[in-house]
Symmetry: D2
Subunit: 150 residues, 4 copies
Amino acid sequence: MRKRIRSYRHKVQYYETDQMQLVHHSNYIRWFEEARTDFMEQVGLPYQAMEEQGILCPVIEMSAKYMRMVKFGDTVRIRSKIEVYNGIKLILSYQVISTETKLIHCTGESQHCFLSNKGKPIFLKKEQPAVHEIFAAYARKKKEDKSNEN
Amino acid sequence: MRKRIRSYRHKVQYYETDQMQLVHHSNYIRWFEEARTDFMEQVGLPYQAMEEQGILCPVIEMSAKYMRMVKFGDTVRIRSKIEVYNGIKLILSYQVISTETKLIHCTGESQHCFLSNKGKPIFLKKEQPAVHEIFAAYARKKKEDKSNEN
Amino acid sequence: MRKRIRSYRHKVQYYETDQMQLVHHSNYIRWFEEARTDFMEQVGLPYQAMEEQGILCPVIEMSAKYMRMVKFGDTVRIRSKIEVYNGIKLILSYQVISTETKLIHCTGESQHCFLSNKGKPIFLKKEQPAVHEIFAAYARKKKEDKSNEN
Amino acid sequence: MRKRIRSYRHKVQYYETDQMQLVHHSNYIRWFEEARTDFMEQVGLPYQAMEEQGILCPVIEMSAKYMRMVKFGDTVRIRSKIEVYNGIKLILSYQVISTETKLIHCTGESQHCFLSNKGKPIFLKKEQPAVHEIFAAYARKKKEDKSNEN
């Protein structure tokens, strides 16, 4: 049921650097979003379709640890996983891996809730069972996490 | 009728620099928007109010000339003027002036049209005469342009 | 010795919104930087001067909690405080407060280390005692934290 | 000598939208840079190598025309061409084409000069003849421009 998820590839752009001659730390937060968008497409829940169905999935918490610098011209791969899903709350984790060094350069997490267009909380299990099933499928089997690698 | 417009002040942020250790050129485009937003408030047409009335004012053309570099920690002032307004089309010009050197570091222009929420062109003179009057007042008197300085 | 620190004022820009019609979550990370830059200036350690002295102060961890939305046209004030400073590590906290509602809309923290231009760790107490004294002055007196408000 | 240049592919990200629910106009300027970076790599002059050789290539003019909107989830291809190259000045043009509609959604141009690390103008023909030859090769044969398509 659960497919193998490919990691997301990002090539570092000039405009993502700052005068320390490294990627500005705020851009990793945007890369997490790029990777999450890609993850959602791969599992069959593209954001556009979610928003058209009236499900918003805003970020309510965010964290990042910057371990090794990333520079202009580098290419990174980002692995996204669902760490927690309970029908109300979704937590994804991210690993930013240099394609050159194969080392983890940054890790992060984002926590999300589910809201209707009018800003009311949605309980997915009841109101959007098909969406719920997918999140649950990719979250629940902790032991199979190795399948989520590239 | 027409008030004196104060120039807009922007302090350069670290995240606006790139690895050339200068402000990345795309950020000036954003500063023009900051200055335009401020200009619109000063003339009594804040964007929020415009959008609530159902008037969108998208950018359809944009240009910039980068004459002197701007660095982190610099403060610039931006002068906005209406160069053209004819009821359908709006052209603003921008001058980015260093508060330290008093020199013009960048100039630019943006051209806008007026659309309804549904994306249909709006002819302001007919459909929004009060809005039209304001744009016309700040655009038409070419000889008074000296009033538009700070 | 320790001055009262003014909170930092930020007016929300159009380009900071996303299609959820709220500020994109990555921009708060940039606002924290704006507030931190301002804080550093107020305490007498502007980033430019730090970098000219050969002290880099990169972000090594970052977190944010998004509690209430912020919209285009809103103005927020950001309060920055030094939560931890031990000569090697610096942790600042941020509160994003709506000027309208007076409520906290977002909180966050950033952790920093100190590096030389060549990327080697700097032990400020020994190598930059004047800089060290300032950080220590603004960090150590937990009971006086009320002075850090606006 | 002159290879066929592949157009550059960009997938629109959520953080690139604004509250008009379209891509914010400043992001196209960044896409031009992404496409230019890719073009430079394809012709054998990657920016990193240029900067390591001490050649900076800053943007000194920029323009864009926004013809059709681009939305989150769209994929565009960007075609870059050298319009002018005379040893001192470089002008590239860009076409942003929707992969779905095959229509041109945006066009633009960027003008560049060549500077040393110290900010002095470089006359490439004399000082960097190998770099000069490449720019000249991709610029001069106006009639072969059809090869520059994808």
